[in-house]
């Protein structure tokens, strides 16, 4: 595999292989010497057209643990602001002879565009509202650690589904396993036409009833402007996950959030900090999962 553009393109077997490798890397990360020398001499560039300290830091740590040389290239320090096209930026970067390009871009399909125009291995760190594959992989990894399986689970994804690349990548990943997937939220934030294997709930309590996993999505504070929701207050009142609601999910169910959280809006502090929350585990697992992804890709020989 040259690139990781999306979960869409992966088979169940690909996913299982990545998750197994991630498990091995997680063990490495618990040792005193956390670095592996395998990729020494190769270079990775983190090409971020959208600011995201969390994702960039996670990738950077993963790259360094793999002994890669790391370059960071973000919008504010680049010539992109001067109207350089993505294609030109890419050609410039290619001339640095990098082996891996980690890209975050506001346009859906941007990662695919980059992959088609470079010899380097491309890892999608989020393209528009399309996919954020490493997030879904680390989510799956975290669920597996706790539940030991993905098959047979009921998962509710709650919130701003239409604008969420995290929701899409998770949908595609979970769809490759024998799972029940629910989308929960106000109709304005759910897709106009529902994917075949998804159940829709407008009511949060009904939507999370008896599930094994609740994935809470971050609500963008500006959604009110597009008239998607009347106010954050109303959203939080009806679709924010609060402590009382935990009674409706399974006793051993877990709550996840890709971060950064708006505490008190889509998730209450009590829930975020509860024993059922996997939020910090997700962050830790992000590094091992991203190491696994980079490790498994093969840049094209020029």
């Amino acid at each position: 595999m040259k690139d990781l553009i999306g979960i869409k393109e992966l088979s169940r077997q690909d996913i299982e292989e990545i998750l197994n490798t991630a498990k091995a890397f997680k063990e490495v990360l618990q040792r005193d010497i956390k670095k592996v020398p395998t990729l020494r001499g190769r270079t990775a560039i983190n090409l971020f057209f959208e600011p995201s300290t969390r994702t960039r830091t996670s990738f950077e740590l993963a790259e360094k643990r793999l002994s890669l040389d790391v370059l960071n290239f973000s919008v504010s320090t680049s010539s992109v602001v001067k109207g350089e096209t993505l294609y030109d930026t890419l050609k410039t970067i290619e001339s640095y002879n990098v082996d891996y390009i980690v890209i975050r871009h506001s346009s859906s399909g941007a990662a695919k565009f980059v992959a088609e125009n470079t010899f380097a291995s491309v890892i999608n760190a989020g393209d528009g509202t399309n996919e954020h594959p490493t997030q879904a992989l680390l989510d799956a990894f975290s669920i597996l650690e706790i539940k030991g399986r993905l098959d047979g689970l009921k998962i509710a994804i709650v919130g701003d589904i239409i604008h969420s690349r995290v929701a899409r990548s998770n949908l595609y990943l979970l769809s490759k396993f024998d799972t029940e997937i629910r989308f929960v939220g106000p109709p304005t934030l759910l897709p106009q036409e529902i994917p075949d294997n998804v159940k829709i709930f407008f009511d949060l309590q009904e939507g999370i009833e008896d599930v094994d996993v609740v994935m809470i999505l971050r609500i963008q504070l500006e959604r009110q402007k597009g008239a998607y929701i009347p106010s954050l207050k109303e959203y939080s009142h009806f679709w924010g996950l609060k402590k009382e609601l935990l009674n409706y999910i399974k006793k051993d169910a877990v709550v996840m959030h890709p971060g950064p959280m708006n505490r008190g809006v889509e998730i209450s502090t009590e829930v975020a900090d509860s024993s059922q929350s996997l939020i910090l585990r997700q962050v830790t697992n992000g590094i091992a999962t991203r190491m696994a992804v980079i490790y498994m890709l093969n840049p094209k020989e020029v």
Partner: protein, 436 residues
């Protein structure tokens, strides 16, 4: 210059002529049409003069030159995308001898100076008949009416803000009212831009799957409905551009049944492709209105058959490669259509949706009626304005062979059945018989 076609199947819905014929063109004028019962062996005079072309047209068709009601020639202002010279040459190559060029140039064709410029340029460098379309509103801003009567006087045949909808209903009402004094139709690009928001493809399962923002069908349909009601109210002639949805077809059918003075066009991509064409983020299939679904496509085909849709137009929208070689969301809308439109439309004949005669009407008689322009058709004494077509010849689309500067086509490398072999427009002609 003498051009002789022997044993051609003449099919001209303008003059309502049909049959086997020999046709002689002398210095751009049809000097002789000899209709006959059966083909006769071609009599070569053996003059060998380079001032004479003798063409064995056995098994081939002669149609009147096609008229494209919806072309973006891009000049003035966007000569890096297309010029009047290259666009009109692309027209000839595609079988079009007349094109109506849209007003969204820079400056906008909202005053007679621009119209004169276009016509002068067309006379100097153009290869086909150029019929400018004037803007409905100044600067396509949708706020004030342009000087429609003066534009008409300067040579505009219709009015459109194409590319931009006229969002303000009172402006659209006034435009339809005012157009009655001018006798030219208002061509409406039906789109509610609030509903489209920043959508880039048809809204549905696929747009969600690709993570691309959708444009609902309702975005087109609410404006079709509005404009139909305004046409009913004002009795102004409304022509609906590039119909892409089933709902629009249903509304147009209803309006025609009510006797409301409306006509409509669609484009080859709406009856050839569905949204599936953008699945790989193919920016060459990004177009506005967006490609829809199988159900829309089938409805558009039957609407052509039933006469609910009157015209097939290209919406030829050439762009520079840099404007398409970007992530899908950022790519400009449009397909370079002049050089594939007719061959794509012949598929409707081959599959039995339209008769050959019905198809030619969509490209000739209907636009003539709607635009109230004079075209004599293929008859003795008339200026030569005709095309020779092998409706069965298979050929492979190669965007690099386009004479249009716009190489933005989703049909590259498609094999199409039916090819224009020879186009004559007055003294100008284009011989494509040896093209692969």
């Amino acid at each position: 210059m003498l051009i002789k076609f022997y044993n051609a199947n003449l099919l001209d819905p303008i003059t309502k002529t049909k049959g086997l014929a020999d046709i002689i063109i002398e210095d751009g004028v049809i000097s002789k049409i000899k209709l006959k019962r059966k083909s006769t062996p071609i009599q070569t005079k053996g003059t060998g003069s380079k001032n004479m072309l003798e063409i064995n047209a056995e098994g081939l068709y002669l149609f009147p030159g096609l008229i494209d009601m919806h072309t973006h020639l891009r000049e003035p202002g966007y000569e890096y995308k297309e010029t009047i010279r290259t666009g009109t040459l692309a027209a000839l190559r595609g079988g079009f001898t007349s094109v109506c060029c849209m007003a969204n140039t820079f400056p906008v064709n909202d005053n007679p100076e621009v119209t004169y410029y276009i016509l002068a340029k067309a006379k100097e460098e153009g290869s086909c008949h150029v019929l400018p379309i004037g803007a409905i509103t100044k600067g396509l801003k949708g706020e004030e009416l342009s000087e429609m009567a003066m534009l008409r006087e300067a040579g505009c045949v219709a009015f459109s803000d194409d590319g931009m909808p006229v969002m303000n209903s009172i402006i659209m009402k006034r435009a339809l009212e005012y157009s009655k004094a001018i006798g030219a139709p208002i061509i409406s690009h039906c789109e509610d831009i609030n509903l489209s928001e920043d959508g880039v493809m048809n809204e549905g399962k696929l747009s969600f799957y690709l993570g691309l923002k959708g444009i609902p069908r309702a975005s087109e349909e609410v404006m079709v409905a509005r404009d139909i009601l305004l046409s009913k109210y004002t009795k102004g002639h409304l022509h609906i551009a590039h119909v892409s949805t089933k709902g629009s077809v249903e509304l147009i059918k209803f309006a025609k049944e009510q006797g409301i003075p409306i006509t409509a066009e669609t484009c080859p991509h709406y009856f050839t492709l569905t949204e599936e064409a953008v699945k790989d983020y193919n920016t060459n299939a990004k177009v506005n209105p967006p490609l829809r679904t199988e159900e829309d496509l089938e409805t558009i085909k039957s609407a052509l058959k039933e006469g609910i849709i009157d015209v097939i137009a290209t919406d030829h929208a050439p762009h520079h490669i840099d404007e398409k070689k970007v992530p899908f969301q950022e790519a400009l809308n449009g397909i370079s259509g002049l050089e594939t439109a007719f061959s794509l439309s012949l598929r409707l004949v081959h599959e039995g949706t339209l008769s050959l005669e019905e198809l030619i009407e969509k490209f000739t008689v209907s636009p003539i009626k709607i635009l109230k322009i004079r075209k004599e058709g293929i008859k003795e004494g008339a200026q030569a304005d005709l095309i020779l077509v092998d409706i069965n010849k298979e050929w492979k689309v190669d965007k690099n062979k386009f004479v249009s500067l716009g190489k933005n086509t989703p049909f590259d490398l498609w094999t199409l059945k039916g090819k224009v072999l020879f186009t004559v427009k007055g003294k100008k002609f284009l011989d494509m018989r040896t093209e692969e």
